[in-house]
Symmetry: C2
Subunit: 406 residues, 2 copies
């Protein structure tokens, strides 16, 4: 037993994140930028609007021509979006104008269509306009050179539209981390195959690739790793240019868990840590092979999932220059909890918000780490710190929220 | 003026949603199912575990052989994941066993590796085991025939893994709605082009396609629609098999807004409603051409965005059999608000949560519907109901939360 060597979750995460470098940037078309992370502050290339434009349908005029109400003026042309009235407006003239159209030179007000009527071929103005009304002056939204989007932010639908409007058709985004997935275990068969006695369908690959995609990474399936010495190194050798390799299984203390030894014993590999004081998920490993970080998750579906939330998702955030902190909040526990041992525990739990907005959390009755249905039904995980004393029903506990689409 | 004909937002949304039918289902590989909506309840094809397996590394034994401590027993074989010990265990025998391995017939307990030692070639057991300890019995997680995922739920990483583990490699999901995007306006140029005087870069297409993708739909760019009578119908004729066409611009009261008239006047089209009592976004249109619903959004970037949140996102949810309700919550306003007119108003606003968890919302100073930067910076929209009275700073207001990645 090496329980005295178990690392705490927070120290392990810190060690791991220190070994991860944010990725470089690459050029991206504005049409493909949604949900990417912008790598630099972006500045408008053009102003919006670029010229004074009308915000309504009506008539562009000179305020000095409209002293009394009603006033009749002749319509000398039309300015509509895409087709400006190119001449300057002379005294005593009106131009028909539509929303978004350029204000002709000399105009300083727009009269609403509904405040006018046609009288003997002229336009009669029935309401006294104000100077500059219904005119959008250049740069009302933003001016050329103005910062429009801050670096390291996620590009939403709104920000992509803003970037396009500001004249950028290409922009720098953080490269997506390429993450190899290696599931280990001679008992595993791929979905679609019928497992024989002693075999198990591989679900970890799907769990991890889905989480990686939802987190902004690019999953690369490296297949199922045989339970034999050297198999990991052989696969890593043949999988260059990955930013991270994540494995599941094979890192326990059993004679047939080869991943830890492969990393430990290879001259081109280095083990950073192995075994964490947590439940589920003790046999968690972090190290590297040449320059590729290797994150070894436990093989049990629930342990793999919980450790992916605690370790893999933050690594992807660090790659993408996002804040890798986990999302904890508070809730009231609906039952007594016994004291905890030295292993930090993450309990699958259901969360209910009552009519007063207070949140109540109930742990699943069984917490066996093979029970994936319980993880699927959980709304969050209750965090029980190492050596936490027993607590009574209605005490406040910390809960860990799941990443989006996890 | 036809202000008396303005429809309220809620009635307009209801009318629109009534005209939208949820889509049919299609088969999907489990490898592509993440973030899709499952169309039917799913039931496990196999149990998990399918057989009794060990949850630890150690020795499988018969409890009746271990009456006193220590007891020494001979190791007669190994059961490891993927490679079971196939013979039944006889009285007085032990089998080495690893996590996930099948429990040999006759065994009823597993002794932890760390509770044993090798003594003269036999395994000495130092702790008295309990019946059934460290054994996962068949169906502990779920049994064949058990419901594992409910229909109409979004498939997360966890649920995809669970479905795979339960033996399903293909499953029914709701078809993605194919949504055509038509942006109208002769002043528009595509991103990448340099706008001349009077021209504007088309940002609405990017806004809408990003929102459609993030909402689970498939955007199809139908290009920029010319400002001329018949252009809309011509495009619709040439765009079959769409579930919805969304347009921007061209639905105002100006002489050059042809979309409304195209829908109104074509014998194969029908106008359901046009003009909503809201700000921004009055010129909103809904109708159909043949069997394709047409949603006409305003052309201003902010109006288009706000109306997309209020109308387009719920339509996509209805297609996908998700709840189309908008996500409203409450916050305290940080300044006085004047009374509102007959148009329901949506104010771009910043949201701050204080140390006590109370949320404070501040509207942007300028709310002009061309100001996309303000929409991009907003955290939410404040809803001002029609004819809302003036309210004081610190009053509670309703806020509309944005969809994910909007």
């Amino acid at each position: 037993m090496q329980n005295n060597k178990l690392l705490s979750v927070s120290i392990a995460r810190e060690k791991m994140l220190q070994a991860i470098s944010p990725l470089s940037s690459e050029k991206c078309s504005i049409f493909a930028a949604h949900n990417r992370i912008v790598a630099e502050d972006l500045f408008a290339l053009i102003s919006h609007p670029a010229e004074a434009v009308s915000s309504m349908d009506g008539y562009a005029a000179r305020l000095s021509d409209i002293v009394n109400i009603p006033t009749c003026l002749p319509e000398v042309g039309t300015s509509r979006a895409g087709y400006a009235y190119k001449k300057p407006l002379l005294a005593g003239q009106l131009v028909r104008i539509f929303t978004g159209a350029v204000i002709p030179q000399g105009c300083d007000t727009v009269i609403l269509q509904e405040d006018t009527q046609n009288v003997l071929g002229k336009i009669q103005i029935n309401e006294l306009p104000k100077l500059g009304q219904f005119i959008r002056y250049p740069g009302l939204d933003f001016s050329a050179g103005q910062k429009i989007v801050s670096k390291n932010s996620i590009l939403t639908a709104r920000s992509c539209a803003l970037i396009a409007l500001a004249g950028l058709s290409e922009l720098p985004v953080i490269r997506k981390p390429k993450i190899g997935i290696l599931t280990s275990g001679d008992e595993l068969v791929a979905p679609g195959q019928i497992p024989k006695s002693g075999q198990l369908i591989n679900s970890n690959n799907i769990l991890l690739s889905s989480l990686i995609k939802a987190s902004g990474g690019e999953p690369i399936d490296l297949g199922i790793l045989a339970d034999k010495s050297g198999a990991l190194i052989e696969t890593l050798k043949n999988s260059p240019n990955l930013d991270l390799v994540v494995t599941t299984g094979g890192a326990s203390v059993g004679d047939h868990d080869f991943i830890t030894n492969d990393i430990k014993n290879n001259p081109n590999a280095a083990l950073s840590f192995w075994k964490i004081a947590m439940r589920p998920g003790k046999p968690l490993l972090f190290g590297k092979y040449e320059n590729t970080p290797v994150l070894g998750l436990p093989g049990n579906p629930v342990s793999a999932g919980v450790c992916a939330v605690l370790f893999l998702a933050p690594v992807i955030k660090k790659f993408l220059r996002l804040n890798p902190s986990l999302s904890y909040s508070k809730a009231l526990i609906t039952e007594d909890l016994s004291k905890n041992d030295r292993r930090e525990e993450y309990l699958r739990a259901k969360l209910v918000t009552d009519d007063e907005g207070i949140r109540h959390v109930t742990p699943a009755i069984r917490q066996d780490s093979s029970m994936l249905a319980t993880l699927n039904e959980a709304d969050c995980l209750i965090l029980r710190p190492a050596f936490a004393p027993k607590i009574k029903k209605s005490s406040t506990v910390s809960i860990l929220n799941f990443p989006n689409l996890f």
